[in-house]
């Protein structure tokens, strides 16, 4: 089980994440939602070990991951929000780099890397530098790199970014299957329709604070609202979206 206890991250004095606590059990898919700047990616980066929290702790199966970050990272797969990959490496070279850094045996790594590229339809571009890849192709490489070592925890930060419809649907089914295999999955996204379908529970974050933490079904019942979009609007988007749209059109005409 993955547990966050009172995680806070401050930049100067401003909290980007403010006392966030939640748990995710094996087999659960946690939807991590919030508007831009709510602190979603900051939390994910803290979990991935890319940022140090100002206070609070992350526990996995009861142990504090700060005591042995390498042990935790060995069991972690991460798809970042921005597809920053070394542009001079090819897709295959990138997967080999990640696999070797993760200590995978050479023969198995080559086989897996080739297979991942094949199933994602990148076989023909495996020797092309990543700098020449489209956003979707990079995303496929990043997803492959995150799954290469069969992780127990999967952090997906906007994983659908740049993916075509078919690959998005494949990813949706893949997340479900991985949950069936008792993986811990945190799925951060702005696409509420997809989140609603694949997540067993959701956390809604606003200005760094948790404003909702329950299953979609329970939230619907509690708030008497029919969909996650409306729950989200009620909790977070306090602006009249139609009025803002009218304003934008007005500014365009000036």
């Amino acid at each position: 089980m993955l547990e966050l206890r009172g995680i806070t991250k401050k930049y100067n004095v401003f909290p980007a994440v403010d006392h966030v606590s939640f748990t995710v059990s094996p087999g659960e898919v946690l939807g991590y939602l919030g508007p831009n700047g709510a602190g979603k990616s900051t939390t994910i980066k803290i979990l991935a070990g890319l940022l140090e929290p100002t206070s609070g702790e992350v526990l996995f199966d009861g142990f504090d991951v700060r005591r042995d970050p390498a042990r935790f990272k060995r069991r972690l797969g991460y798809v970042p929000e921005q597809s920053e990959i070394y542009p001079h490496l090819s897709g295959l070279e990138y997967l080999l780099l990640v696999g070797r850094l993760r200590g995978l045996p050479e023969a198995r790594l080559w086989e897996k890397a080739r297979d991942f590229l094949r199933v994602f339809g990148l076989d023909g571009d495996r020797d092309t530098p990543v700098g020449a890849y489209s956003k979707g192709m990079r995303q496929k490489v990043l997803i492959s790199a995150a799954l290469l070592h069969d992780p127990d925890i999967l952090l997906l930060d906007e994983p659908l970014s740049g993916l075509d419809v078919t690959t998005s649907m494949i990813l949706r089914d893949l997340v479900r299957r991985l949950a069936d295999e008792k993986k811990v999955i945190i799925y951060s996204s702005h696409v509420l329709e997809v989140t609603e379908k694949i997540c067993t529970k959701v956390i809604i974050l606003d200005k760094g604070r948790v404003v909702a933490n329950d299953s979609v079904e329970n939230l619907r019942v509690l708030m008497h609202l029919p969909s996650l979009v409306e729950i989200f609007s009620q909790l977070v988007a306090q602006e009249d979206t139609d009025a803002v749209a009218r304003d934008i059109v007005g500014v365009m005409g000036n």
Binding site: A70, Y86, H88, L96, L101, D127
Partner: protein
């Protein structure tokens, strides 16, 4: 601006569709991009660096003017000062050539420029006008720095022999500034033409390969020439003697050297009327006009091709042949047993192969070593027929080169490639860091030291025969391995993956003891080798001792240092004030 003035300006903008403003904005943008790179990403530091460079240029101008022209305090200038003017112009033309080679990648708008600017309503002619104007501003700035102090030096030493009037003084100063600026403009236009011509003639892959090779070769030559000119008065005076002799025997042959064109322009501008100068000035000015027109045409015609080359994706690299794959597999199994070692080693190798910037940096260090070598040994390398009697500098020449190569590699490894992408190393970091550090040291040995030693043997075999060359190569190899250990002692970064904050205050504060230490060490290494060649039976003792020291150092690194070192992903900035003891 008055209302009428503003209305007039707006009408002009409408008529020209805002083109002058676009040119202005783009000129500024391209000018700024000349000074921006991955190494110095922060604007303030970039400005600070730029001012330092300009100040150094001004100081070089001052030193050079004093070295070359101070004799005219006491010796009358009967017209013989054209040689010193030639030397002054040649040095600054070479320095600018080196600067342009560093800026090679931004001479033409690159893919990022095209991606950002092409969707905007900006005409190609506007783009190139702005690019051209930014170059003129760059040359102007460079010329201002070169002239800032040197013009006063010249004004102090030379005009008094042609009359003490203010007119003579101003004429000299004007001639100095104009001749220098024209010479620098010529250099810039020449390199622009070179790139435009290569772009027009070669395909994308060939262009990249040829341009990089040419750039490296020219950078090495430039640094070596600059070092010789600034540090070695003997060679400089030999060069001046050569010019004097040529003037006496075959004066027209001097016009084969571009600095002579602008030295001639200098002489014409101060009122000397010899036919040689008139001809030289004509060639100089003509070359600027011809190159300017050629650049314009090449840039106009090559524009579409260039856009295509900039925007087209780099397609597949050729995968390794079956034999190559097998050899690579054998190498990996034998040398890099752990997966992390493989990852770090291959990442370093691929980055060094792919990154032109890192290669140019390495070439810069190599050029510095070559320059020192030219200064210290010259043609003595070819004259030495026996290592036991060879000059010390000849024996230590490869050590000097090798040392700068290792230093260049270390310096380059500190500079990140794709700084945003280093999260992958942070995410996958294991608890045992030793394999990372071991892989770095193996990369130093297999990517630089062994290839260098492999090149060394045939050269020395040609000079001294196979046996002595093998001993010499093994001796150099031993010292390079030791230097590699020393240079990467407690090195705690993954090569090309650490975010670095510029500012090498420590190195700036300690450069003098480092340089003195280096020369003492090199001299001692040469002396030891000569004595070993006189008593060859002692070579095995040396090799055994070197092997023992190397093994000891590697043991200490693996056993005591590696396990305690943390991998550094972001280098902390150094304090502003660092003392020798700090």
């Amino acid at each position: 601006m008055s209302l009428n003035g503003r209305l007039g300006f707006e009408a002009l903008m409408r008529r020209t569709r805002g083109r002058p403003r676009q040119v202005l904005v783009l000129t500024r943008h391209f000018f700024n991009r000349l000074f921006q790179n991955e190494i110095i990403p922060f604007e303030d530091q970039m400005k600070e660096k730029l001012f330092t460079v300009l100040a150094v240029l001004a100081a070089v101008g001052w030193v050079l003017t004093n070295t070359l022209f101070s004799q005219y305090m006491f010796v009358e200038d009967f017209g013989q000062s054209w040689m010193e003017k030639f030397a002054f112009l040649a040095v600054f033309m070479t320095i600018l050539a080196f600067a342009v080679l560093l800026e090679w990648d931004v001479l033409f708008p690159d893919a990022r420029d095209h991606l950002n600017l092409r969707p905007l309503p900006v005409k190609p002619s506007t783009l190139f006008t702005a690019k051209f104007l930014s170059f003129l501003a760059f040359v102007g700035l460079f010329s201002a720095a070169a002239n800032a102090l040197s013009v006063f030096g010249v004004a102090f030493f030379l005009p008094k022999w042609t009359g003490d009037s203010l007119t003579a003084l101003l004429r000299y100063m004007g001639a100095h500034i104009l001749a220098t600026t024209a010479a620098l403009l010529f250099v810039f236009l020449f390199f622009l033409f070179l790139q435009a011509a290569l772009l027009a003639v070669l395909g994308g892959r060939a262009f990249r390969a040829v341009a990089l090779t040419l750039r490296l070769g020219l950078a090495v030559a430039c640094v070596a020439l600059i070092l010789v000119a600034l540090v070695d008065p003997v060679t400089l005076s030999k060069g001046l003697e050569f010019l004097k002799a040529r003037r006496g025997t075959r004066p027209s042959s001097l016009l084969l050297f571009p600095p002579m064109w602008f030295a001639s322009l200098y002489e014409v501008l101060i009122g000397r009327s010899e036919a040689l100068y008139a001809a030289g000035a004509r060639v100089g000015l003509g070359s600027i006009l011809v190159l300017g027109a050629a650049d314009f045409l090449a840039m106009s015609f090559g524009f579409r091709k260039h856009i295509r080359k900039s925007l087209e994706v780099r397609k597949s690299r050729r995968p390794l042949s079956r034999l190559g794959t097998r050899a690579s597999g054998v190498f990996d199994r034998a040398v890099l047993p752990l997966p992390v070692e493989k990852a770090v080693f291959h990442f370093a190798a691929k980055t060094l192969r792919a990154s032109a910037g890192h290669k140019v940096r390495l070439a810069g260090y190599l050029a510095f070593g070559l320059g020192l070598l030219l200064l210290s040994t010259g043609t003595r390398i070819l004259e030495a027929r026996d290592p036991s009697t060879a000059h010390l500098n000849v024996l230590s020449a490869p050590i000097v080169l090798g040392f700068f190569l290792i230093l260049g590699l270390r310096s380059g490894m500190n500079i990140p490639f794709g700084p945003e992408a280093n999260w992958v190393f942070r995410l996958t970091e294991g608890s045992d860091r030793n394999p990372y550090f071991i892989a770095v040291r193996k990369a130093v040995v297999f990517l630089v030291i062994l290839p260098f030693a492999a090149l060394l043997w045939p050269v020395h075999a040609w000079l001294w025969g196979g046996g002595p060359a093998a001993l010499h190569t093994a001796y150099v190899l031993a010292w390079m391995l030791l230097a590699g250990q020393a240079a990467f002692w407690r090195f705690s970064r993954i090569p090309y993956a650490c975010l670095v904050v510029p500012g090498k205050a420590k190195l700036q504060a300690r450069w003098l003891p480092y340089v003195i230490g280096f020369f003492v060490a090199v001299s001692a290494i040469g002396t030891l080798e000569r004595s070993l060649f006189r008593h060859p039976g002692r070579f095995p003792v040396f090799f055994l001792a070197a092997a023992a020291v190397l093994a000891g150092l590697e043991f200490v690194q693996r056993r005591y240092i590696g396990p305690k070192l943390a991998l550094v992903y972001v280098e902390e900035p150094e304090p502003i004030m660092v003392t020798l003891g700090g």
